[in-house]
């Protein structure tokens, strides 16, 4: 207690420092006066009396020192003094301060910006109550629909019936909510508004969704269990963003009705700002609808199909329950539910019954597919920025070392006068920490801009839709990260120069450093330059490898033509069309666009090339059924006549789908070459039949084989997926996947040399149905390029960092060479006086610089090969050991080094021997 009180008094003593000094002076004065009086009374003469009094008092200054030390906290005061001193020194060397700060700003900016992304995508929890209590079912994140009663590895998607079974029987979950695994678009129009419908992402959610997350509506009310019942009045919750951006926060939106896919819904509430649903994704939902309204909105509803699994589960663990106990309970329930459906199961599914299981995983970050998608990229970027930061440290350390050399004499004097080692070390260390804190603070601004830029490139947002819910402005963890990183950086590049200051021999330093021939302290600086060169080579090569991979992706033979093709995307579902109205609609759309000037031909399809595919099993007529372990998957697409002609993929055998394939004619299919290789190894596929479900007739007759093309670009570098194509006119209305009837891509082939303006396409569509929104119109080239956004971003960022590191390394090399040349001025002068000519001097200086570079290359080459291995999964089949790339990186580095060292070499060669010898 006493100690604490004393500490506090000492801490605040700075405020009263002048008063205290005065008090001490007065007290001493009083004391000595009294003693003098006493001495006078004892009979001394006045002058001697005072002298004796002062003697008795003791050494005054030493006592004052003790007094002052007792009064304040000397360590704190000295720190403040030293900091002020450091600031003053930095101000007095503006060039150095600017160079060091700029270097640091770049490094800190890059690191902080990437960390902002890492934090948002990999580390952050959902903005909901107690996210640590949330658990989701499933370890992988799966999409879309899985049919039947078995799932490989784990049961992670469930049907609505299975969801209810889990919800009603698992008492370990206080709430268990369900959401579809894929995102839906809705055509939205406010009732009574004259504007055309626009499409917005939305989500069906179980009634307890908001209660499970523990979030209340911002305005109005959230959805409840009573909204999520059969026959409940259709209601919806709108996102805060849409409410603000489209309706200006108008309170009358709550309670008003909206057309969602042409069905009337009442908006009952607004979700809180910042809530982006259960999953971090580039397009957060703007509408939340009860699951039970799905059959009301979708003509091909999945809600009541027992064996269609399309829901993700996420729930809040109740008090007292553990994830392990709940997981065990749910495994038993899964088996019970499957048992109850034993009669509907196929033989293969019964065989797989024993291995059916499920896993819980932490759900605090939501059902994150983005995390899995970006994890590898972010790791690579984080590693790269780590390298850049290291180079930055090395560079600034070099600058500091040069400064330390200049200060050597001063340090020597202070040490000769008895300065303590700790203070001699502290001075340069403080300077470097101050510098790095400046750099960190300014780097935050750069990071903000950089993150915004990266977000714009990585997640190009569509007009009117919400962007990815990642904020570029630094959050508290990001601020902490920047602060700690700056501090660590400051220590990292400050320690070596600080310790070097200690190694000064006062006598040697005072004697005049310029005369000495020892290169004391040049080893650390050389080492740093060597490391910088090595790391630059690694980064340059990584950038080269990624760029080469991107180019090979973009210029690979995709198997379809991109030039002159335009892809318009629509969504008849959003305009409220029923499946049986679709065929005539497609005919009208086809005809109205085909009649536009400049259009050569048009085809509609479910998925245009690079747009995706629908999945199915394949059972070939005359082949034995595939065993339970034999994979018989193929992707398929529904297209209109002449599709292959429009996309420019040649039919290598048989013929294209034609106008003669109608609802009444025999069912036909065109298959891809990969399909033939997979299912007809040694047979002629033409005329063969196949089906998509085991029990039903194999009705599709193969009439043509199309050359392989990359319809799916999501797995670049892998073999093409087998595909088959069915004519739109032969749609089966009774089938289970009615959704495949809603074609959404229109591929338009322009006549050679002609252009088809976007506005005429819009007009043509509006003449067919003004109420049907066109989601997008873009060229095929844009659609393909859009698939490589991520790869392009990474290649560009890595190139940027590579160039940055090259620049820094060159500056570092320049600094070291210039400094060494400067220190050798007198030596050079002697050499020249003895007859060396300019080219010999230049060679002398360059030899030093290129020696360093050579060392850098020696260290860098193995590192580069390692980096190639590290990157190999992201190179899509291009070799990680690309000699051209490595050679190019070496060359670029060599040229930069030449430029960086030639300048000081030339300057050294211009030294006049007389001046050089006179300079000391």
């Amino acid at each position: 207690m006493r100690t604490f009180r004393r500490f506090f008094r000492r801490l605040v003593s700075r405020a009263t420092i002048r008063q205290d000094e005065e008090r001490l002076r007065a007290e001493i004065e009083d004391h000595i006066a009294r003693q003098t009086e006493e001495n006078v009374r004892a009979g001394w003469p006045p002058a001697e009396a005072r002298r004796q009094a002062v003697l008795k008092f003791g050494p005054l200054e030493s006592m004052k020192d003790t007094y002052r030390e007792q009064r304040g906290l000397p360590s704190v005061e000295v720190l403040v003094l030293d900091t002020r001193h450091a600031l003053r020194r930095l101000r007095r060397a503006p060039a150095f301060t600017l160079a060091a700060t700029l270097t640091l700003v770049l490094g800190m900016g890059a690191t902080t910006s990437i960390f902002t992304l890492v934090h948002a995508i990999l580390l952050k929890s959902l903005p909901v109550a107690n996210p640590s209590e949330l658990y989701r079912v499933g370890r992988e994140s799966r999409c879309c629909y899985l049919a039947g009663y078995s799932q490989d590895r784990e049961f992670s998607l469930v049907s609505y019936d299975l969801y209810r079974y889990f919800r009603d029987h698992t008492d370990g979950f206080s709430e268990l909510a369900a959401v579809p695994s894929m995102q839906l678009l809705f055509g939205v129009r406010r009732s009574g508004s004259p504007e055309a419908a626009r499409s917005y992402p939305g989500e069906f959610v179980s009634g307890n969704y908001f209660a499970m997350f523990g979030i209340a509506a911002y305005a109005g009310r959230a959805l409840t269990a009573t909204d999520d019942r059969v026959g409940a009045p259709p209601v919806a919750v709108m996102s805060y963003r849409l409410w603000q951006q489209n309706y200006g926060g108008d309170p009358s939106v709550i309670g008003s009705t909206f057309h969602l896919n042409d069905k009337l819904f009442t908006i009952v509430g607004i979700a809180p700002p910042g809530f982006f649903g259960d999953t971090l994704r580039p397009t957060p939902p703007d509408f939340f609808l009860p699951l039970n309204s799905e059959p009301f909105v979708e003509s091909d509803a999945d809600l009541n199909k027992y064996d269609t699994h399309w829901l993700n589960l996420i729930g809040r663990i109740g008090p007292g329950a553990t994830a392990a106990s709940v997981e065990a309970q749910m495994r038993v329930e899964l088996k019970q539910w499957l048992r109850a459906h034993w009669n509907e199961m196929s033989a293969a599914e019964r065989m797989k019954f024993p291995e059916q299981t499920l896993f819980l995983s932490p759900g605090g970050a939501g059902i994150t597919s983005m995390r899995e998608q970006y994890q590898r990229w972010l790791q690579i970027l984080m590693t790269i920025t780590g390298f850049v930061l290291f180079i930055v440290c090395a560079n600034v350390a070099n600058l500091m070392l040069v400064r330390g050399m200049e200060r050597q004499r001063q340090t020597a004097v202070s040490m000769a006068l008895g300065a303590r080692a700790s203070r001699v070390v502290r001075q340069p260390l403080l300077e470097s920490i101050l510098l790095s804190l400046f750099g960190g603070a300014a780097g935050l601004a750069i990071a903000y801009g950089g993150t915004r830029l990266i977000l714009r490139f990585a997640f190009p947002s569509m007009a009117g839709l919400a962007g990815v819910p990642i904020s570029a402005s630094p959050s508290l963890p990001v601020l902490c990260f920047a602060f700690v990183a700056s501090l660590a950086t400051g220590l990292a590049f400050g320690i070596a120069p600080a310790c070097l200051a200690l190694r000064v021999d006062p006598i040697e330093a005072l004697r005049g450093a310029n005369r000495s021939t020892t290169r004391a302290g040049s080893l650390p600086r050389k080492t740093l330059v060597v490391l910088q060169a090595a790391l630059s080579l690694v980064l340059l090569s990584a950038a080269g490898l990624l760029t080469v991979a991107l180019r090979s992706l973009e210029h690979q033979n995709l198997g379809f033509q991109q030039d002159g093709r335009i892809v318009a995307t629509m969504n008849p579902r959003l305009a409220g069309y029923r499946p049986d109205q679709l065929s005539p609609l497609y005919r009208r759309i086809h005809d109205s666009i085909a009649n536009l000037p400049g259009v050569a031909s048009v085809a509609l399809c479910l998925y245009s090339p690079a747009g995706g595919g629908w999945g199915s099993g394949v059972w070939v007529d005359g082949h034995p059924d595939p065993g339970p372990r034999n994979e018989n998957f193929a992707a398929w697409d529904r297209v209109t006549a002449g599709y292959f002609d429009v996309i420019g993929t040649p039919i290598i055998r048989g013929h294209d789908i034609t106008e003669q394939d109608t609802a009444g004619s025999r069912k036909v299919a065109v298959v891809s070459d990969a399909f033939v290789r997979k299912f007809f190894r040694n047979e002629d596929p033409l005329g063969k039949h196949f089906g998509r479900t085991p029990g039903e007739p194999r009705e599709f007759e193969i009439v043509g084989v199309a050359r392989d093309a990359r319809y799916l670009l999501s797995n670049p570098g892998q073999a093409p997926v087998p595909f088959f194509f069915l004519p739109e006119t032969q749609a089966e209305y009774g089938q289970s996947n009615l959704g495949s009837l809603f074609l959404h891509d229109i591929v338009i082939l322009a006549r050679p040399g002609a252009t088809v303006p976007v506005s005429t396409i819009r007009e043509a569509m509006a003449s067919v149905d003004p109420g049907m929104p066109l989601v997008s119109i873009r060229t095929m080239r844009e659609q393909v390029a859009g698939q490589f956004t991520q790869q392009r971003l990474i290649a560009r960022l890595t190139s940027f960092f590579g160039i940055l590191s090259l620049l820094l390394a060159s500056i570092g090399l320049y600094g070291v060479t210039a400094y060494n040349a400067g220190r050798r001025v007198s030596e050079i002068g002697v050499r020249m006086a003895l007859g060396a000519d300019r080219s010999q001097v230049i060679r002398l200086v360059l030899r030093g610089a290129f020696g360093l570079l050579l060392f850098g290359l020696l260290i860098g080459l193995p590192l580069t090969l390692l980096a190639g291995r590290f990157l190999s999964s992201q190179l899509y089949g291009t070799s990680p050991y690309n000699p051209v790339v490595i050679l190019a990186g070496t060359l670029v580095l060599g040229v930069s080094a030449l430029v960086a060292s030639l300048l000081p070499a030339l300057r050294a060669s211009r030294v006049s021997p007389l001046d050089a010898l006179r300079s000391d």
Binding site: R2, I28, D30, H31, R34, F57, G58
Partner: protein, 115 residues
């Protein structure tokens, strides 16, 4: 003349506290005089060393000080014991006596006592 002893570290504070306890409020000079007087000139005391001790005791809250007028109307700073100081004095007195007693016993022990 007997050799004078240096002040043992830490004991000066105790002497100051005891002095103030006995004499009440007193200025620095008075405290110095009193200590020399009591110790019977056995101690060499640089009177100046008193002031850092006074400062520390004040920071710890054992004593308080204020300006006042002394006998011949000179302004002087008077120190007095606070309640904390009194408590501290009692505790330290006890400690000191205990330590002295223990050391005393060691000196009293003779070799034959250990058998």
């Amino acid at each position: 003349m007997k050799p004078k002893a240096d002040v043992q570290p830490g004991t000066l504070a105790l002497m100051v506290l005891k002095t103030l306890d006995v004499l009440g409020a007193l200025h620095g000079y008075g405290i110095a005089q009193r200590i020399e007087q009591i110790s019977g000139d056995l101690l060499t005391l640089n009177q100046g060393t008193l002031y850092p001790v006074l400062l520390r005791l004040e920071q710890e809250g054992s004593i308080a000080s204020e300006w006042g007028a002394s006998e011949n109307n000179r302004k002087a700073r008077f120190y007095r014991l606070t309640r904390t100081g009194r408590k501290q004095l009692r505790a330290e007195t006890r400690d000191w006596e205990q330590t002295a007693a223990i050391v005393g016993r060691f000196f009293a022990v003779k070799a034959e006592d250990l058998k």
